[in-house]
Symmetry: C3
Subunit: 215 residues, 3 copies
Amino acid sequence: MSTHHAMAALELIGIFVFAISGALTAIQKGFDAVGILILAEVTALGGGVVRDVIIGDTPPAAFRDVWLLLVPVAAATVAFFAHPVVERLTFAVLLFDAAGLGLFCVTGTLKALDHGLGPVQSAVLGVTTAVGGGLLRDVIARQTPALVKVDTDLYSIPAMLGAATVTVAHRLDLPMSVAAPAAAVAVFAFRVIAMVRHWTAPQAWTRRRAGEASG
Amino acid sequence: MSTHHAMAALELIGIFVFAISGALTAIQKGFDAVGILILAEVTALGGGVVRDVIIGDTPPAAFRDVWLLLVPVAAATVAFFAHPVVERLTFAVLLFDAAGLGLFCVTGTLKALDHGLGPVQSAVLGVTTAVGGGLLRDVIARQTPALVKVDTDLYSIPAMLGAATVTVAHRLDLPMSVAAPAAAVAVFAFRVIAMVRHWTAPQAWTRRRAGEASG
Amino acid sequence: MSTHHAMAALELIGIFVFAISGALTAIQKGFDAVGILILAEVTALGGGVVRDVIIGDTPPAAFRDVWLLLVPVAAATVAFFAHPVVERLTFAVLLFDAAGLGLFCVTGTLKALDHGLGPVQSAVLGVTTAVGGGLLRDVIARQTPALVKVDTDLYSIPAMLGAATVTVAHRLDLPMSVAAPAAAVAVFAFRVIAMVRHWTAPQAWTRRRAGEASG
Protein backbone atom coordinates (compact mmCIF):
# COMPACT_ATOMS: atom_id res chain seq x y z
CA MET A 1 0.00 0.00 0.00
CA SER A 2 2.64 2.53 1.02
CA THR A 3 4.78 1.34 -1.92
CA HIS A 4 1.83 2.10 -4.17
CA HIS A 5 1.45 5.59 -2.71
CA ALA A 6 5.18 6.18 -2.96
CA MET A 7 5.11 5.15 -6.64
CA ALA A 8 2.16 7.47 -7.35
CA ALA A 9 3.91 10.37 -5.64
CA LEU A 10 7.14 9.63 -7.51
CA GLU A 11 5.23 9.51 -10.80
CA LEU A 12 3.80 13.00 -10.23
CA ILE A 13 7.27 14.27 -9.30
CA GLY A 14 8.69 12.67 -12.47
CA ILE A 15 5.99 14.30 -14.58
CA PHE A 16 6.64 17.65 -12.90
CA VAL A 17 10.36 17.49 -13.61
CA PHE A 18 9.94 16.30 -17.21
CA ALA A 19 7.50 19.19 -17.67
CA ILE A 20 10.06 21.61 -16.22
CA SER A 21 12.60 20.42 -18.80
CA GLY A 22 10.06 21.01 -21.59
CA ALA A 23 9.16 24.45 -20.27
CA LEU A 24 12.82 25.49 -19.92
CA THR A 25 13.52 24.35 -23.49
CA ALA A 26 10.59 26.46 -24.69
CA ILE A 27 11.85 29.49 -22.76
CA GLN A 28 15.39 29.06 -24.15
CA LYS A 29 13.90 28.94 -27.66
CA GLY A 30 11.95 32.14 -26.98
CA PHE A 31 8.53 30.50 -27.29
CA ASP A 32 5.50 32.33 -25.92
CA ALA A 33 3.38 31.28 -22.90
CA VAL A 34 1.32 28.90 -25.03
CA GLY A 35 4.46 27.26 -26.38
CA ILE A 36 5.83 26.86 -22.85
CA LEU A 37 2.63 25.12 -21.75
CA ILE A 38 2.45 22.87 -24.82
CA LEU A 39 6.07 21.81 -24.55
CA ALA A 40 5.66 21.11 -20.81
CA GLU A 41 2.64 18.86 -21.47
CA VAL A 42 4.18 17.05 -24.44
CA THR A 43 7.52 16.42 -22.69
CA ALA A 44 5.89 15.17 -19.50
CA LEU A 45 3.14 13.03 -20.99
CA GLY A 46 4.14 12.23 -24.59
CA GLY A 47 6.02 9.02 -23.83
CA GLY A 48 3.19 7.54 -21.80
CA VAL A 49 0.54 8.55 -24.34
CA VAL A 50 2.46 6.85 -27.16
CA ARG A 51 2.89 3.73 -24.99
CA ASP A 52 -0.83 3.55 -24.17
CA VAL A 53 -1.88 4.15 -27.79
CA ILE A 54 0.43 1.33 -28.95
CA ILE A 55 -0.81 -1.03 -26.21
CA GLY A 56 -4.36 -0.09 -27.17
CA ASP A 57 -5.23 1.11 -23.67
CA THR A 58 -7.19 4.22 -24.64
CA PRO A 59 -7.88 6.83 -23.50
CA PRO A 60 -4.27 6.95 -22.24
CA ALA A 61 -3.61 7.32 -18.51
CA ALA A 62 -2.82 11.00 -19.09
CA PHE A 63 -6.43 11.53 -20.23
CA ARG A 64 -7.98 9.61 -17.32
CA ASP A 65 -6.37 11.01 -14.18
CA VAL A 66 -6.77 14.78 -14.51
CA TRP A 67 -3.79 15.42 -12.19
CA LEU A 68 -1.46 14.13 -14.90
CA LEU A 69 -2.62 16.99 -17.15
CA LEU A 70 -2.61 19.59 -14.36
CA VAL A 71 0.88 18.93 -12.98
CA PRO A 72 2.56 20.18 -16.20
CA VAL A 73 0.42 23.33 -15.97
CA ALA A 74 1.93 23.93 -12.52
CA ALA A 75 5.43 23.21 -13.85
CA ALA A 76 4.94 25.59 -16.80
CA THR A 77 3.70 28.29 -14.44
CA VAL A 78 6.72 27.88 -12.15
CA ALA A 79 9.09 27.96 -15.12
CA PHE A 80 7.30 30.95 -16.64
CA PHE A 81 7.80 33.15 -13.59
CA ALA A 82 10.89 31.67 -11.95
CA HIS A 83 12.97 30.24 -14.78
CA PRO A 84 16.19 32.08 -13.78
CA VAL A 85 15.98 30.37 -10.39
CA VAL A 86 15.12 27.01 -11.94
CA GLU A 87 17.96 27.30 -14.42
CA ARG A 88 20.40 27.84 -11.54
CA LEU A 89 19.13 24.57 -10.05
CA THR A 90 20.25 22.62 -13.15
CA PHE A 91 21.84 19.78 -11.24
CA ALA A 92 18.83 19.37 -8.95
CA VAL A 93 16.55 19.28 -12.01
CA LEU A 94 18.82 16.67 -13.63
CA LEU A 95 18.70 14.56 -10.47
CA PHE A 96 14.91 14.55 -10.44
CA ASP A 97 14.93 13.90 -14.19
CA ALA A 98 17.12 10.82 -13.55
CA ALA A 99 14.58 9.68 -10.96
CA GLY A 100 11.80 10.12 -13.52
CA LEU A 101 13.84 8.20 -16.09
CA GLY A 102 14.27 5.27 -13.72
CA LEU A 103 10.67 5.29 -12.62
CA PHE A 104 9.06 5.62 -16.06
CA CYS A 105 11.14 2.93 -17.77
CA VAL A 106 10.13 0.52 -14.99
CA THR A 107 6.44 1.42 -14.79
CA GLY A 108 6.16 1.52 -18.60
CA THR A 109 7.68 -1.94 -18.93
CA LEU A 110 5.41 -3.32 -16.19
CA LYS A 111 2.30 -1.88 -17.82
CA ALA A 112 3.16 -3.48 -21.18
CA LEU A 113 3.86 -6.84 -19.48
CA ASP A 114 0.51 -6.56 -17.66
CA HIS A 115 -1.21 -6.11 -21.02
CA GLY A 116 0.32 -9.36 -22.28
CA LEU A 117 3.05 -8.01 -24.53
CA GLY A 118 6.24 -10.02 -24.89
CA PRO A 119 9.42 -9.18 -22.95
CA VAL A 120 11.29 -7.43 -25.80
CA GLN A 121 8.20 -5.47 -26.79
CA SER A 122 7.55 -4.48 -23.17
CA ALA A 123 11.13 -3.30 -22.70
CA VAL A 124 10.86 -1.21 -25.88
CA LEU A 125 7.66 0.39 -24.56
CA GLY A 126 9.28 0.99 -21.17
CA VAL A 127 12.09 2.90 -22.84
CA THR A 128 9.53 4.70 -25.02
CA THR A 129 7.70 5.83 -21.87
CA ALA A 130 10.91 7.21 -20.40
CA VAL A 131 12.43 8.92 -23.45
CA GLY A 132 9.49 9.50 -25.86
CA GLY A 133 8.41 12.80 -24.35
CA GLY A 134 11.91 14.24 -24.60
CA LEU A 135 12.13 13.16 -28.25
CA LEU A 136 8.84 14.92 -29.05
CA ARG A 137 10.07 18.00 -27.13
CA ASP A 138 13.21 18.17 -29.28
CA VAL A 139 11.29 17.65 -32.54
CA ILE A 140 8.83 20.46 -31.75
CA ALA A 141 11.61 22.74 -30.46
CA ARG A 142 13.60 21.98 -33.63
CA GLN A 143 16.78 20.83 -31.93
CA THR A 144 18.82 17.67 -32.49
CA PRO A 145 17.25 15.10 -30.17
CA ALA A 146 19.34 14.86 -26.99
CA LEU A 147 18.65 11.14 -27.30
CA VAL A 148 20.90 10.71 -30.35
CA LYS A 149 23.61 13.32 -29.86
CA VAL A 150 27.14 12.02 -29.51
CA ASP A 151 28.12 14.51 -26.84
CA THR A 152 25.17 13.79 -24.56
CA ASP A 153 25.80 11.74 -21.43
CA LEU A 154 24.18 8.30 -21.47
CA TYR A 155 20.44 8.64 -21.08
CA SER A 156 18.53 5.90 -22.86
CA ILE A 157 21.07 3.13 -22.18
CA PRO A 158 20.36 3.16 -18.42
CA ALA A 159 16.66 3.06 -19.31
CA MET A 160 17.23 0.10 -21.66
CA LEU A 161 19.08 -1.82 -18.94
CA GLY A 162 16.38 -1.01 -16.40
CA ALA A 163 13.62 -2.19 -18.76
CA ALA A 164 15.58 -5.37 -19.53
CA THR A 165 16.05 -6.02 -15.81
CA VAL A 166 12.31 -5.78 -15.19
CA THR A 167 11.48 -8.19 -18.03
CA VAL A 168 14.05 -10.71 -16.80
CA ALA A 169 12.71 -10.44 -13.24
CA HIS A 170 9.20 -10.94 -14.62
CA ARG A 171 10.30 -14.02 -16.57
CA LEU A 172 12.00 -15.47 -13.48
CA ASP A 173 8.92 -14.72 -11.35
CA LEU A 174 10.97 -12.65 -8.91
CA PRO A 175 8.85 -10.57 -6.50
CA MET A 176 8.16 -7.37 -8.42
CA SER A 177 7.68 -5.32 -5.24
CA VAL A 178 11.45 -5.71 -4.78
CA ALA A 179 12.68 -5.98 -8.36
CA ALA A 180 10.82 -2.93 -9.71
CA PRO A 181 12.10 -0.39 -7.14
CA ALA A 182 15.58 -1.95 -7.35
CA ALA A 183 15.62 -1.54 -11.14
CA ALA A 184 14.40 2.06 -10.89
CA VAL A 185 17.08 2.91 -8.33
CA ALA A 186 19.76 1.22 -10.47
CA VAL A 187 18.73 3.26 -13.52
CA PHE A 188 18.82 6.42 -11.41
CA ALA A 189 22.29 5.61 -10.07
CA PHE A 190 23.64 4.62 -13.51
CA ARG A 191 22.29 7.83 -15.05
CA VAL A 192 23.74 10.03 -12.29
CA ILE A 193 27.17 8.38 -12.58
CA ALA A 194 27.03 8.73 -16.39
CA MET A 195 26.35 12.45 -15.94
CA VAL A 196 29.09 12.99 -13.39
CA ARG A 197 31.68 11.05 -15.42
CA HIS A 198 30.37 12.25 -18.82
CA TRP A 199 29.98 8.75 -20.23
CA THR A 200 28.75 8.82 -23.83
CA ALA A 201 27.61 6.19 -26.32
CA PRO A 202 29.97 5.37 -29.20
CA GLN A 203 29.63 6.64 -32.75
CA ALA A 204 29.65 4.24 -35.69
CA TRP A 205 32.72 1.99 -35.78
CA THR A 206 34.98 3.53 -38.44
CA ARG A 207 34.10 7.06 -37.41
CA ARG A 208 35.20 6.28 -33.90
CA ARG A 209 38.41 4.67 -35.08
CA ALA A 210 39.05 7.63 -37.39
CA GLY A 211 38.50 9.89 -34.39
CA GLU A 212 40.92 7.87 -32.27
CA ALA A 213 43.57 7.80 -35.01
CA SER A 214 43.45 11.55 -35.45
CA GLY A 215 43.11 12.18 -31.71
CA MET B 1 -31.64 19.06 -38.54
CA SER B 2 -30.60 22.18 -40.38
CA THR B 3 -28.10 22.91 -37.60
CA HIS B 4 -26.62 19.48 -38.19
CA HIS B 5 -26.31 20.12 -41.91
CA ALA B 6 -24.83 23.54 -41.30
CA MET B 7 -22.23 22.02 -38.95
CA ALA B 8 -21.31 19.34 -41.53
CA ALA B 9 -20.94 21.96 -44.26
CA LEU B 10 -18.86 24.16 -41.97
CA GLU B 11 -16.65 21.20 -41.10
CA LEU B 12 -15.88 20.55 -44.76
CA ILE B 13 -15.16 24.25 -45.29
CA GLY B 14 -12.86 24.22 -42.25
CA ILE B 15 -11.03 21.17 -43.60
CA PHE B 16 -10.72 22.80 -47.01
CA VAL B 17 -9.19 25.97 -45.56
CA PHE B 18 -6.84 24.12 -43.21
CA ALA B 19 -5.74 22.07 -46.25
CA ILE B 20 -5.16 25.27 -48.23
CA SER B 21 -2.85 26.54 -45.48
CA GLY B 22 -0.91 23.26 -45.59
CA ALA B 23 -0.65 23.35 -49.39
CA LEU B 24 0.51 26.99 -49.42
CA THR B 25 3.17 26.19 -46.83
CA ALA B 26 4.40 23.32 -49.01
CA ILE B 27 4.49 25.58 -52.08
CA GLN B 28 6.40 28.28 -50.19
CA LYS B 29 8.92 25.63 -49.11
CA GLY B 30 9.34 24.48 -52.73
CA PHE B 31 7.92 21.00 -52.10
CA ASP B 32 6.78 18.94 -55.08
CA ALA B 33 3.20 17.92 -55.92
CA VAL B 34 3.34 14.95 -53.56
CA GLY B 35 4.56 17.16 -50.72
CA ILE B 36 1.75 19.64 -51.39
CA LEU B 37 -0.84 16.86 -51.18
CA ILE B 38 0.66 15.29 -48.04
CA LEU B 39 0.91 18.61 -46.23
CA ALA B 40 -2.68 19.49 -47.20
CA GLU B 41 -3.97 16.18 -45.80
CA VAL B 42 -1.89 16.30 -42.61
CA THR B 43 -2.78 19.92 -41.82
CA ALA B 44 -6.49 19.41 -42.44
CA LEU B 45 -6.97 16.06 -40.73
CA GLY B 46 -4.02 15.57 -38.36
CA GLY B 47 -5.64 17.18 -35.31
CA GLY B 48 -8.81 15.10 -35.58
CA VAL B 49 -6.89 11.87 -36.21
CA VAL B 50 -4.78 12.42 -33.08
CA ARG B 51 -7.95 13.19 -31.07
CA ASP B 52 -9.71 10.02 -32.26
CA VAL B 53 -6.65 7.81 -31.67
CA ILE B 54 -6.38 9.18 -28.10
CA ILE B 55 -10.11 8.72 -27.45
CA GLY B 56 -9.80 5.21 -28.87
CA ASP B 57 -12.45 5.82 -31.53
CA THR B 58 -10.70 4.08 -34.43
CA PRO B 59 -10.63 4.17 -37.36
CA PRO B 60 -10.69 7.97 -36.96
CA ALA B 61 -13.49 9.97 -38.57
CA ALA B 62 -11.09 10.97 -41.36
CA PHE B 63 -10.84 7.31 -42.36
CA ARG B 64 -14.60 6.68 -42.26
CA ASP B 65 -16.19 9.46 -44.28
CA VAL B 66 -14.25 9.47 -47.55
CA TRP B 67 -15.13 13.13 -48.21
CA LEU B 68 -12.82 14.15 -45.38
CA LEU B 69 -9.90 12.63 -47.32
CA LEU B 70 -11.04 13.99 -50.69
CA VAL B 71 -11.59 17.63 -49.69
CA PRO B 72 -7.84 18.18 -49.04
CA VAL B 73 -7.14 16.69 -52.50
CA ALA B 74 -9.37 19.40 -53.96
CA ALA B 75 -7.66 22.06 -51.83
CA ALA B 76 -4.19 20.85 -52.88
CA THR B 77 -5.26 20.93 -56.55
CA VAL B 78 -6.59 24.48 -56.26
CA ALA B 79 -3.41 25.61 -54.49
CA PHE B 80 -1.21 23.79 -57.01
CA PHE B 81 -2.64 25.63 -60.01
CA ALA B 82 -3.88 28.88 -58.50
CA HIS B 83 -1.61 29.62 -55.56
CA PRO B 84 -0.73 33.17 -56.68
CA VAL B 85 -4.46 33.98 -56.57
CA VAL B 86 -4.93 32.19 -53.25
CA GLU B 87 -1.96 33.98 -51.74
CA ARG B 88 -3.49 37.33 -52.67
CA LEU B 89 -6.61 36.26 -50.75
CA THR B 90 -4.61 35.94 -47.51
CA PHE B 91 -7.11 37.72 -45.34
CA ALA B 92 -10.03 35.71 -46.70
CA VAL B 93 -8.10 32.49 -46.04
CA LEU B 94 -7.32 33.66 -42.50
CA LEU B 95 -11.00 34.42 -41.91
CA PHE B 96 -12.04 30.92 -42.96
CA ASP B 97 -9.17 29.52 -40.92
CA ALA B 98 -10.53 31.36 -37.87
CA ALA B 99 -13.94 29.81 -38.59
CA GLY B 100 -12.30 26.37 -38.74
CA LEU B 101 -10.48 27.07 -35.48
CA GLY B 102 -13.73 27.96 -33.71
CA LEU B 103 -15.60 25.01 -35.17
CA PHE B 104 -12.97 22.33 -34.54
CA CYS B 105 -12.21 23.31 -30.93
CA VAL B 106 -15.95 23.08 -30.20
CA THR B 107 -16.69 19.84 -32.08
CA GLY B 108 -13.50 18.23 -30.76
CA THR B 109 -14.42 19.06 -27.17
CA LEU B 110 -17.98 17.79 -27.67
CA LYS B 111 -16.76 14.50 -29.15
CA ALA B 112 -14.44 13.89 -26.20
CA LEU B 113 -17.22 14.70 -23.72
CA ASP B 114 -19.53 12.31 -25.60
CA HIS B 115 -16.93 9.57 -25.14
CA GLY B 116 -16.98 10.10 -21.39
CA LEU B 117 -13.72 11.99 -20.93
CA GLY B 118 -13.51 14.54 -18.13
CA PRO B 119 -13.90 18.29 -18.75
CA VAL B 120 -10.20 19.22 -18.66
CA GLN B 121 -9.26 16.26 -20.84
CA SER B 122 -12.04 17.09 -23.31
CA ALA B 123 -10.95 20.71 -23.53
CA VAL B 124 -7.36 19.59 -24.20
CA LEU B 125 -8.57 17.32 -27.00
CA GLY B 126 -10.75 20.11 -28.41
CA VAL B 127 -7.71 22.37 -28.64
CA THR B 128 -5.70 19.45 -30.08
CA THR B 129 -8.32 19.02 -32.81
CA ALA B 130 -8.07 22.69 -33.70
CA VAL B 131 -4.32 23.21 -33.59
CA GLY B 132 -2.77 19.72 -33.97
CA GLY B 133 -2.82 19.68 -37.76
CA GLY B 134 -1.01 23.00 -37.96
CA LEU B 135 1.63 21.76 -35.53
CA LEU B 136 2.26 18.65 -37.65
CA ARG B 137 2.39 20.88 -40.76
CA ASP B 138 5.12 23.02 -39.20
CA VAL B 139 7.13 20.00 -38.00
CA ILE B 140 7.10 18.38 -41.46
CA ALA B 141 7.81 21.70 -43.20
CA ARG B 142 10.66 22.31 -40.74
CA GLN B 143 9.55 25.71 -39.51
CA THR B 144 9.11 26.97 -35.96
CA PRO B 145 5.53 26.04 -35.05
CA ALA B 146 3.28 29.08 -35.52
CA LEU B 147 1.64 27.85 -32.31
CA VAL B 148 4.62 28.77 -30.12
CA LYS B 149 6.14 31.79 -31.84
CA VAL B 150 6.16 35.00 -29.88
CA ASP B 151 5.34 37.18 -32.87
CA THR B 152 2.28 35.20 -33.93
CA ASP B 153 -1.13 36.66 -33.19
CA LEU B 154 -3.13 34.70 -30.60
CA TYR B 155 -4.32 31.42 -32.07
CA SER B 156 -4.59 28.68 -29.50
CA ILE B 157 -5.75 30.92 -26.63
CA PRO B 158 -9.11 31.62 -28.33
CA ALA B 159 -9.40 27.87 -28.91
CA MET B 160 -8.63 27.18 -25.24
CA LEU B 161 -11.32 29.63 -24.12
CA GLY B 162 -13.81 28.13 -26.58
CA ALA B 163 -13.11 24.59 -25.38
CA ALA B 164 -13.40 25.71 -21.75
CA THR B 165 -16.72 27.41 -22.50
CA VAL B 166 -18.12 24.22 -24.00
CA THR B 167 -17.08 22.11 -21.01
CA VAL B 168 -18.60 24.62 -18.57
CA ALA B 169 -21.84 24.68 -20.59
CA HIS B 170 -21.84 20.87 -20.57
CA ARG B 171 -21.32 20.78 -16.81
CA LEU B 172 -24.16 23.30 -16.29
CA ASP B 173 -26.43 21.31 -18.63
CA LEU B 174 -26.98 24.35 -20.84
CA PRO B 175 -28.62 23.52 -24.20
CA MET B 176 -25.68 22.60 -26.43
CA SER B 177 -27.54 23.58 -29.62
CA VAL B 178 -27.13 27.17 -28.42
CA ALA B 179 -23.89 26.96 -26.42
CA ALA B 180 -21.82 25.18 -29.07
CA PRO B 181 -22.47 27.60 -31.96
CA ALA B 182 -22.10 30.53 -29.55
CA ALA B 183 -18.70 29.27 -28.39
CA ALA B 184 -17.57 28.69 -32.00
CA VAL B 185 -18.61 32.21 -32.99
CA ALA B 186 -16.88 33.68 -29.92
CA VAL B 187 -13.63 31.89 -30.81
CA PHE B 188 -13.93 33.14 -34.38
CA ALA B 189 -14.51 36.73 -33.24
CA PHE B 190 -11.71 36.62 -30.65
CA ARG B 191 -9.27 35.22 -33.23
CA VAL B 192 -10.20 37.84 -35.84
CA ILE B 193 -9.83 40.69 -33.34
CA ALA B 194 -6.47 39.23 -32.19
CA MET B 195 -5.30 39.22 -35.84
CA VAL B 196 -6.47 42.76 -36.54
CA ARG B 197 -4.97 44.16 -33.34
CA HIS B 198 -1.90 41.88 -33.41
CA TRP B 199 -2.43 40.57 -29.90
CA THR B 200 0.31 38.15 -28.88
CA ALA B 201 0.91 35.85 -25.91
CA PRO B 202 3.60 36.89 -23.42
CA GLN B 203 7.10 35.46 -23.24
CA ALA B 204 8.48 34.12 -19.97
CA TRP B 205 8.32 36.62 -17.13
CA THR B 206 11.87 37.96 -16.79
CA ARG B 207 12.42 37.97 -20.54
CA ARG B 208 9.36 40.13 -20.92
CA ARG B 209 10.49 42.48 -18.17
CA ALA B 210 13.95 42.67 -19.71
CA GLY B 211 12.27 43.53 -23.01
CA GLU B 212 10.20 46.28 -21.38
CA ALA B 213 13.19 47.73 -19.55
CA SER B 214 15.24 47.98 -22.72
CA GLY B 215 12.22 49.10 -24.81
CA MET C 1 1.45 -21.57 -48.77
CA SER C 2 4.76 -20.92 -50.48
CA THR C 3 3.41 -17.51 -51.55
CA HIS C 4 2.70 -16.83 -47.89
CA HIS C 5 6.23 -17.82 -46.89
CA ALA C 6 7.69 -15.77 -49.72
CA MET C 7 5.69 -12.71 -48.56
CA ALA C 8 6.85 -13.16 -44.95
CA ALA C 9 10.47 -13.45 -46.07
CA LEU C 10 10.12 -10.42 -48.33
CA GLU C 11 8.59 -8.44 -45.45
CA LEU C 12 11.59 -9.14 -43.21
CA ILE C 13 13.94 -8.18 -46.06
CA GLY C 14 11.96 -4.98 -46.59
CA ILE C 15 12.15 -4.15 -42.88
CA PHE C 16 15.90 -4.88 -42.87
CA VAL C 17 16.55 -2.55 -45.81
CA PHE C 18 14.34 0.24 -44.45
CA ALA C 19 16.23 -0.11 -41.15
CA ILE C 20 19.55 0.13 -43.03
CA SER C 21 18.41 3.41 -44.58
CA GLY C 22 17.51 4.73 -41.12
CA ALA C 23 20.83 3.61 -39.64
CA LEU C 24 22.86 5.13 -42.50
CA THR C 25 21.00 8.44 -42.09
CA ALA C 26 21.85 8.41 -38.38
CA ILE C 27 25.51 7.68 -39.13
CA GLN C 28 25.66 10.47 -41.71
CA LYS C 29 24.19 12.85 -39.11
CA GLY C 30 26.83 11.77 -36.57
CA PHE C 31 24.31 10.25 -34.15
CA ASP C 32 25.58 7.85 -31.48
CA ALA C 33 24.87 4.11 -31.23
CA VAL C 34 21.52 4.73 -29.53
CA GLY C 35 20.49 7.15 -32.24
CA ILE C 36 21.44 4.64 -34.93
CA LEU C 37 19.28 1.97 -33.29
CA ILE C 38 16.32 4.29 -32.73
CA LEU C 39 16.37 5.60 -36.30
CA ALA C 40 16.66 2.03 -37.67
CA GLU C 41 13.58 0.93 -35.67
CA VAL C 42 11.50 4.02 -36.46
CA THR C 43 12.28 3.95 -40.20
CA ALA C 44 11.58 0.23 -40.53
CA LEU C 45 8.45 -0.02 -38.38
CA GLY C 46 7.00 3.50 -38.11
CA GLY C 47 4.74 3.30 -41.15
CA GLY C 48 3.17 0.01 -40.09
CA VAL C 49 2.70 1.15 -36.49
CA VAL C 50 0.88 4.31 -37.62
CA ARG C 51 -1.30 2.19 -39.96
CA ASP C 52 -2.23 -0.27 -37.20
CA VAL C 53 -2.95 2.49 -34.67
CA ILE C 54 -5.26 4.21 -37.18
CA ILE C 55 -7.01 0.94 -38.07
CA GLY C 56 -7.36 0.26 -34.34
CA ASP C 57 -5.51 -3.07 -34.56
CA THR C 58 -3.42 -2.74 -31.40
CA PRO C 59 -0.88 -3.72 -30.32
CA PRO C 60 0.53 -3.13 -33.83
CA ALA C 61 2.08 -6.06 -35.71
CA ALA C 62 5.54 -4.71 -34.84
CA PHE C 63 4.74 -5.31 -31.15
CA ARG C 64 3.38 -8.83 -31.66
CA ASP C 65 5.95 -10.66 -33.75
CA VAL C 66 9.23 -10.07 -31.94
CA TRP C 67 11.25 -10.63 -35.14
CA LEU C 68 9.94 -7.36 -36.50
CA LEU C 69 11.65 -5.56 -33.59
CA LEU C 70 14.83 -7.64 -33.77
CA VAL C 71 15.53 -7.33 -37.51
CA PRO C 72 16.22 -3.56 -37.20
CA VAL C 73 18.64 -4.35 -34.35
CA ALA C 74 20.54 -6.59 -36.77
CA ALA C 75 20.45 -3.91 -39.46
CA ALA C 76 21.69 -1.25 -37.03
CA THR C 77 24.52 -3.54 -35.94
CA VAL C 78 25.58 -4.20 -39.54
CA ALA C 79 25.47 -0.50 -40.35
CA PHE C 80 27.33 0.39 -37.15
CA PHE C 81 30.34 -1.78 -37.98
CA ALA C 82 30.24 -1.97 -41.78
CA HIS C 83 28.71 1.28 -42.95
CA PRO C 84 31.51 2.14 -45.39
CA VAL C 85 30.82 -1.17 -47.16
CA VAL C 86 27.05 -0.64 -47.04
CA GLU C 87 27.40 2.89 -48.38
CA ARG C 88 29.33 1.56 -51.38
CA LEU C 89 26.38 -0.76 -52.06
CA THR C 90 24.03 2.23 -52.48
CA PHE C 91 22.34 0.95 -55.61
CA ALA C 92 21.78 -2.51 -54.11
CA VAL C 93 20.24 -0.89 -51.02
CA LEU C 94 18.01 1.25 -53.23
CA LEU C 95 16.88 -1.84 -55.15
CA PHE C 96 15.87 -3.63 -51.95
CA ASP C 97 14.26 -0.41 -50.73
CA ALA C 98 12.17 -0.33 -53.93
CA ALA C 99 11.15 -3.93 -53.23
CA GLY C 100 10.12 -2.92 -49.69
CA LEU C 101 8.18 0.04 -51.10
CA GLY C 102 6.24 -2.23 -53.48
CA LEU C 103 5.60 -4.85 -50.84
CA PHE C 104 4.54 -2.53 -48.00
CA CYS C 105 2.14 -0.41 -50.07
CA VAL C 106 0.42 -3.62 -51.18
CA THR C 107 0.31 -5.40 -47.81
CA GLY C 108 -0.70 -2.18 -46.03
CA THR C 109 -3.60 -1.63 -48.43
CA LEU C 110 -4.72 -5.25 -48.10
CA LYS C 111 -4.66 -5.09 -44.30
CA ALA C 112 -6.83 -1.95 -44.28
CA LEU C 113 -9.29 -3.54 -46.75
CA ASP C 114 -9.42 -6.65 -44.54
CA HIS C 115 -10.38 -4.44 -41.60
CA GLY C 116 -13.31 -3.05 -43.57
CA LEU C 117 -11.97 0.37 -44.50
CA GLY C 118 -13.09 1.91 -47.79
CA PRO C 119 -10.93 1.81 -50.93
CA VAL C 120 -9.59 5.37 -50.77
CA GLN C 121 -8.88 5.08 -47.05
CA SER C 122 -7.13 1.72 -47.57
CA ALA C 123 -4.98 3.12 -50.36
CA VAL C 124 -3.99 6.05 -48.13
CA LEU C 125 -3.00 3.61 -45.36
CA GLY C 126 -1.08 1.46 -47.85
CA VAL C 127 0.97 4.47 -48.89
CA THR C 128 1.35 5.43 -45.21
CA THR C 129 2.78 1.97 -44.50
CA ALA C 130 5.31 2.35 -47.29
CA VAL C 131 6.44 5.94 -46.76
CA GLY C 132 5.54 6.75 -43.12
CA GLY C 133 8.73 5.35 -41.60
CA GLY C 134 10.91 7.39 -43.95
CA LEU C 135 8.98 10.53 -43.08
CA LEU C 136 9.51 9.94 -39.35
CA ARG C 137 13.21 9.23 -40.04
CA ASP C 138 13.60 12.59 -41.78
CA VAL C 139 11.72 14.49 -39.05
CA ILE C 140 13.89 13.01 -36.27
CA ALA C 141 17.08 13.46 -38.31
CA ARG C 142 16.03 17.07 -39.01
CA GLN C 143 16.30 16.91 -42.79
CA THR C 144 13.76 17.96 -45.42
CA PRO C 145 11.60 14.86 -45.94
CA ALA C 146 12.80 13.01 -49.06
CA LEU C 147 9.10 12.49 -49.70
CA VAL C 148 8.46 16.14 -50.54
CA LYS C 149 11.73 17.31 -52.08
CA VAL C 150 11.56 18.47 -55.68
CA ASP C 151 14.88 16.91 -56.67
CA THR C 152 14.04 13.44 -55.33
CA ASP C 153 13.18 10.73 -57.84
CA LEU C 154 9.55 9.56 -57.69
CA TYR C 155 8.96 7.52 -54.56
CA SER C 156 5.43 7.85 -53.24
CA ILE C 157 3.73 8.10 -56.65
CA PRO C 158 4.61 4.48 -57.52
CA ALA C 159 3.29 3.53 -54.08
CA MET C 160 0.06 5.47 -54.71
CA LEU C 161 -0.47 3.70 -58.04
CA GLY C 162 0.26 0.32 -56.46
CA ALA C 163 -2.20 0.96 -53.63
CA ALA C 164 -4.83 2.14 -56.12
CA THR C 165 -4.30 -0.99 -58.23
CA VAL C 166 -4.89 -3.23 -55.21
CA THR C 167 -8.10 -1.44 -54.27
CA VAL C 168 -9.41 -1.66 -57.84
CA ALA C 169 -8.54 -5.38 -58.00
CA HIS C 170 -10.32 -5.84 -54.67
CA ARG C 171 -13.41 -4.03 -55.93
CA LEU C 172 -13.44 -6.14 -59.13
CA ASP C 173 -12.99 -9.34 -57.08
CA LEU C 174 -9.85 -10.27 -59.02
CA PRO C 175 -7.84 -13.11 -57.43
CA MET C 176 -5.57 -11.30 -54.93
CA SER C 177 -2.93 -14.06 -55.05
CA VAL C 178 -2.18 -12.77 -58.57
CA ALA C 179 -3.10 -9.10 -58.28
CA ALA C 180 -1.13 -8.36 -55.09
CA PRO C 181 2.26 -9.70 -56.27
CA ALA C 182 1.67 -8.11 -59.69
CA ALA C 183 1.02 -4.71 -58.08
CA ALA C 184 4.09 -5.04 -55.86
CA VAL C 185 6.29 -5.92 -58.84
CA ALA C 186 4.84 -3.02 -60.86
CA VAL C 187 5.61 -0.57 -58.04
CA PHE C 188 9.15 -1.97 -57.81
CA ALA C 189 9.68 -1.64 -61.57
CA PHE C 190 8.19 1.87 -61.70
CA ARG C 191 10.36 3.01 -58.80
CA VAL C 192 13.54 1.55 -60.33
CA ILE C 193 12.85 3.16 -63.71
CA ALA C 194 12.10 6.48 -61.97
CA MET C 195 15.48 6.24 -60.20
CA VAL C 196 17.40 5.34 -63.34
CA ARG C 197 15.77 8.08 -65.43
CA HIS C 198 15.57 10.61 -62.55
CA TRP C 199 11.85 11.22 -62.92
CA THR C 200 10.60 13.83 -60.45
CA ALA C 201 7.19 15.14 -59.43
CA PRO C 202 6.27 18.65 -60.59
CA GLN C 203 6.39 21.77 -58.45
CA ALA C 204 3.37 24.04 -58.17
CA TRP C 205 2.11 25.26 -61.51
CA THR C 206 3.35 28.84 -61.84
CA ARG C 207 6.69 28.00 -60.23
CA ARG C 208 7.23 25.32 -62.81
CA ARG C 209 6.29 27.66 -65.65
CA ALA C 210 8.58 30.34 -64.26
CA GLY C 211 11.33 27.74 -64.16
CA GLU C 212 10.70 26.76 -67.79
CA ALA C 213 10.61 30.35 -68.95
CA SER C 214 13.94 31.14 -67.37
CA GLY C 215 15.40 27.76 -68.37
